[in-house]
């Protein structure tokens, strides 16, 4: 079975690129949404294997808040994907649980390797929990 991915990204063309790249890595994209609210709703309903999260989103909440809420309800690896790398954003990101961080525009290999590491980290954590 293909790992199921949720993309939360407000730039639709970047979401399209992610969709195609992920399909090539053998992932199945269950949805690409542009707001934190939709992201939280779909994540809690569909329980994806991975969430790719942009930080600036359409709507009230941003990606950091969405990641926090999703992680409270669901044990799913989250990879931030953002154009922001300023100190304030990084501080906020560090205050949440996440498994990877990619700066846009991302590199061809970067996306694949970061996602792989995130999935592995999550799997190891899940194993430790069950033991």
């Amino acid at each position: 079975m293909y790992p199921r991915v949720l993309i939360v990204e407000d730039e639709i063309l970047i979401a399209d690129e992610l969709r195609e790249r992920l399909a090539r890595f053998g992932f199945s994209v269950i949805a690409a949404v542009d707001s934190a609210e939709e992201g939280i709703a779909i994540a809690t309903r569909e329980c994806p294997d991975l969430v790719l999260m942009d930080i600036r989103l359409t709507g009230e909440k941003d990606g950091v808040e969405a990641a926090k809420e999703i992680r409270q309800q669901l044990d799913v690896p989250i990879v931030y994907l953002t154009a922001y790398s300023d100190q304030l954003t990084m501080e906020r990101v560090k205050g949440t649980e996440y498994d990877g961080f990619i700066l846009k525009p991302f590199q061809r290999q970067e996306l694949e390797s970061t996602i792989e590491v995130a999935m592995q980290r999550h799997a190891i954590r899940a194993k430790q929990k069950t033991e």
């Binding site: 730039e11 063309l13 970047i14 690129e17 790249r21 922001y84 525009p105």
Partner: protein
Amino acid sequence: MISSGFFDISHSARRQFQAIFAATALAASPFLILPQLRRLMLATSFLPHLYCYLRNPALVWTHVVADSLIGVSYLAISVTLGYLVHKARRDIPFHWMLLAFGMFIIACGSTHFMEVVTVWIPVYVLSAAVKVVTAVLSLSTAVVLPWTVPRVLTLVRQAKASEQVTAQLRASEERKEALLREVHHRVKNNLSVICSLFYLQSTRTKDAGAIQIFRDMEDRVRSMALVHESLYSSENLARIDFSEYAQALAKDILSSHGSPRVPVCLKCEMEPIIMEADLAVPCGLILTELISNALKHGFPNDTGGEVRMMLRSRPQGECTLCVEDNGVGIPADLNIDSSPSLGLRLVRSLAHQIRGRFELLKLDPGTSAHLRFTVDHHGP
């Protein structure tokens, strides 16, 4: 040197002191000149206060100590006021008023000193004279002070208004900075979207040549996006450290070109150089071409090798950016001024744009590309 420190007084202040001195001398001269007046002033044919206090030591010393303390404190206060006026006479409005206060306080202090003296020596006429002088000074201060009230209030209002202006300026500065950050972010985001467009288009073709073209374009746009990324996180939002940017860019290009079969390692010797964005963008594009060229053409047989990137600066802002590889080297017949390759053409044009000089040298083995240019440092 008397003219330094406390005695370093302005012309107008010196005139004021001269006037005060003259008035004091004038007031004192009758006593010094006229023996009768002097006798009158220093007449001691009265009972000292000691007898009023019935020589009670507790009462006497309480009066003496209290009066001495008051006198010394008044003196200290007026010295402080004088020092304040001297130090900040240009910044304190109504400094003459403060000086008048000083005189008034000194006079008040001297009446208390006279109280101490007259406990033992009954120079009541002199003591009365001192009191008259104090009365005159106190009265003048009391009369003049109310007139200054409206002007002092105006000054207070002006100070408050200028404080508000400063706060407004600071707020507008902060808004400008936030706006600039937002602009860099949007530019970067749009460049990221362009990269996505190139990628999406490249997936619609099977032609390896076309795919390579889209990849090259993506690298070029990404190098520009990275400048805005650096600007966005830089402190002043206008300049970046090119050495940091260049290393991030080189790693980026290496990871996008490198394949596990061709291990090419990157070595950097970079001196920190601060650059404006309009210089960093063309330099970044040139660097992109040089590194991609080295990776694309330097190691055709999957042999692997090394790419060295160097950035050196000399005084007067002269810089040398150098990209070297130990690959197969440039073809003997390559002429950089007439080569039809877009990469070399871009390097040539951009070098011209930044008033730089570009050279391609053959190494044994490999190639060395040099770019010499000047960084203008204006402003802080």
